[in-house]
């Protein structure tokens, strides 16, 4: 385990204020999900999950086909598709577009994909102003932090934290009433929407058969960001494509319910190309950047490829006893929680933080709530095996890792030689150090093993 990971976990576990904030926010979403998916409310919930899984499986298995269909339909609607390999290619496209159109100000709606490629930092580095317009994202952008949670990026901040941030960054008087804080953000952001040259968004779904970008949100900022400025750029992972608009009947029924417990989010926007002649609003230019950024690396493995089914609802975070304790900022990359624990090693390689797939008790609560049935514990197990394989290949690892490997070899040898096992295991138990006994309430080792007692019956 890297020192940094260890240190962050310890810091989170000893931060009582943050623990309470996480427990209360994720607890509300968790209870919401349970109520909204109860058999009495949504009798076909399990069937919907099965269908969602089957639709995702089909799409990811035929990703090339549906992405090309999506591209054709976006272009038929007057938009343009850009294929981006990585963060640099996304930034290069946005920067050159901004230069050509003499754009200075960009308004953004919430997008994990843009966090993945550090887009704000890259744009600001080149003198552009990029403003997050989702309230939570706005708060953490002002605070200079990363999203803490896929759905609730600022759930670790209470109203007093927000008052501090606004006071310091906006140069206003201290305001601790939540409604007033929202009004302040709203007034500031309204000016940005009106002045922005480019609006950027992510996507919840890309519909292949119509070329539509579908965005669900609660605040209306995504609708404004994608329609008020004269240029709209969507940045979406290639796995967001779905075959047909009618498939949304399955996904939209699951997404908000799994995320917050809402039957439906407040706004569901279908963005289909630029403004057409005769239309009174909408952007003049419409671009969709399809981002790989490591996703195609997951495709060859039939088992692990299901990691790409994720619809970013955050249900696994809300139910995870590990995430609920260590919080979003302990994880080594932008994706936190169980889904982060399987995406990060696959996107960035297991060496990025080899301990990450091991930071789980494999309790399976995540798989139980996943609306698209990603078998997260199983993928964690596969990733653990990959970590060991790469350690062996590269002869890498600290002394401790090598000692562990030897210990497991000895274990396997013992467990396949019953006489050795019968003699050696009790010695191991007798030599158990005191701290380990204390840890597991084992005051004294038993005088006899089961097999000894059984043979005396």
């Amino acid at each position: 385990m890297s020192l940094e990971f260890d240190r962050k976990i310890h810091a989170a576990l000893t931060n009582r204020k943050q623990q309470l904030a996480i427990f209360s926010a994720t607890g509300k979403m968790k209870e919401g999900r349970e109520a909204a998916t109860a058999a009495s409310v949504l009798p076909d919930y399990q069937e919907l999950r099965t269908q969602a899984n089957a639709l995702k499986k089909h799409t990811i298995d035929h990703l090339d086909f549906y992405l090309e269909e999506f591209e054709r339909n976006v272009e038929a609607a007057g938009g343009k598709v850009i294929w981006a390999k990585d963060a640099t290619e996304v930034a290069d496209f946005v920067l050159s577009l901004a230069r050509e159109r003499d754009a200075r100000l960009i308004v953004k709606s919430k997008s994990m994909t843009s966090e993945e490629v550090d887009l704000n930092e890259r744009l600001e580095h080149h003198g552009l102003e990029a403003v997050e317009t989702d309230l939570g994202e706005y708060i953490i952008q002002l605070a200079g932090e990363r999203p803490f949670h896929i759905v609730g990026p600022a759930l670790h901040k209470d109203r007093y934290d927000v008052a501090d941030i606004f006071e310091k960054r906006l140069g206003i008087g201290r305001e601790t009433v939540i409604e007033n804080q929202a009004a302040i953000a709203r007034a500031r952001l309204r000016q940005k929407f009106l002045a922005a040259d480019i609006g950027m968004s992510g996507a919840n779904f890309l519909v292949a058969d119509s070329g539509a970008v579908v965005i669900v949100e609660n605040e209306g900022n995504a609708r404004l960001a994608t329609t008020a400025p004269r240029i709209h750029v969507t940045v979406a992972g290639i796995e967001k494509v779905i075959p047909r608009a009618q498939d949304l009947a399955v996904f939209l029924k699951l997404l908000a319910r799994s995320a917050t417990g809402q039957a439906f989010s407040v706004y569901t926007s279908f963005l289909n190309g630029p403004r057409r002649p005769g239309e009174i609003d909408g952007p003049e230019e419409f671009y969709v950047v399809l981002l790989d950024n490591g996703r195609t690396r997951l495709l060859p493995d039939r088992g692990k490829r299901q990691s790409l089914y994720c619809i970013r609802c955050g249900a696994c975070l809300n139910t995870c006893p590990v995430y609920r304790r260590i919080g979003g900022h302990s994880y080594p990359w932008v994706y936190a929680g169980p889904i982060g624990a399987i995406l990060t090693p696959q996107f960035l390689g297991t060496a990025h933080e080899p301990a990450l797939p091991f930071a789980s008790s494999l309790c399976g609560a995540c798989a139980e709530v996943c609306p698209v049935k990603i078998d997260i514990p199983r993928i964690l197990l596969e990733l653990r095996s990959e970590v060991r394989k790469s350690e062996a290949r590269e002869k890498r690892g600290a002394l401790r890792t090598r000692a562990e490997k030897l210990a497991f070899r000895a274990f396997a040898w013992m467990a396949t030689h019953p006489r050795v096992y019968a003699l050696a295991a009790p010695i191991g138990v007798a030599l158990m150090p005191g701290w380990l006994r204390e840890r597991f309430g084992l005051s004294e080792p038993p005088a006899r093993t089961f097999r000894q007692l059984w043979s005396r019956r």
């Binding site: 310890h10 467990a415 009790p426 059984w454």
Partner: protein
């Protein structure tokens, strides 16, 4: 009731909690089963599997197959070890069709103790008496990998003198997770402490589980919290009369 049952007591019970194995045997014999203990048995290989050492896990799993293949019915006092055999052996041998066929033939005959009683033997009242208030901790693998939920509760409900109170929240992990408990000690202890709080809130005299490993984790945390609650395996409760 008749029939032969072979015990897979698991390495934890063999080495640390022999009384759980004896209780399980006693309950099965009381129901009329002929119980044997294949002496070659050791472990299911889960520690190696969960730590990513699949070659080592495979060796132990293969040894398990050799040991138990000849047995008609195998019963284990652990949801987690049962899930290893029933669900994960197949993953270990997915590229070895011949071994996979052996796994398929064996996995249907391996039962977690409570599931054997309620689903195979069709028994819910084993004639036990255990005066006191008891709460039940669902082990994650029994609950979510084997789908065991109602069975152990029905078995407890039939125990004379026993009052069952549900944990709130139910179904949450105790934080054991094998070497997770050692590698992420502080985090694991925090999870155990929350579990103990939930147990204490029920006012129960004892917490009952299907898994010795959960019991270890919970016993340690109960002792640290100074909570006067016993942590018992279901077999121990069902064996008392």
């Amino acid at each position: 009731m008749s029939g032969r049952v072979s015990l897979f007591v698991t390495c934890i019970v063999d080495q640390l909690f022999p009384e759980i194995g004896l209780s399980m045997a006693a309950v099965l014999e009381r129901l009329g089963y002929k119980v044997d203990f294949p002496e070659r048995q050791t472990c299911c290989g889960q520690p190696a599997f969960n730590n990513g050492y699949w070659a080592e896990a495979r060796a132990v799993a293969r040894y398990f197959l050799d040991t138990f293949e000849g047995c008609e019915t195998i019963v284990a006092p652990s949801g987690s070890c049962t899930a290893m055999v029933v669900n994960h052996f197949a993953e270990l041998f997915r590229k070895e069709p011949a071994t996979l066929a052996r796994v398929e033939a064996l996995r249907r005959r391996v039962w977690e103790f409570s599931a054997f009683l309620t689903e195979c033997a069709g028994v819910e009242d084993v004639g036990a008496r255990f005066p006191g208030v008891v709460t039940f901790h669902d082990g994650c693998h029994a609950l979510r990998e084997l789908g065991i939920r109602g069975g152990p509760r029905r078995l407890l409900a039939h125990v004379r003198g026993l009052e069952l109170r549900e944990l709130e929240p139910a179904g949450e992990c105790c934080g054991f997770g094998g070497t997770f408990a050692i590698k992420f000690d502080e985090l694991s202890r925090d999870m155990a402490a929350a579990k103990v709080d939930a147990i204490v809130r029920t006012g129960a005299d004892a917490v009952v589980s299907l898994d010795p490993s959960c019991l270890m984790q919970i016993r340690g945390a109960l002792a640290r919290a100074g909570a006067p609650v016993r942590a018992l395996h279901l077999a121990e409760v069902l064996a008392s009369a």
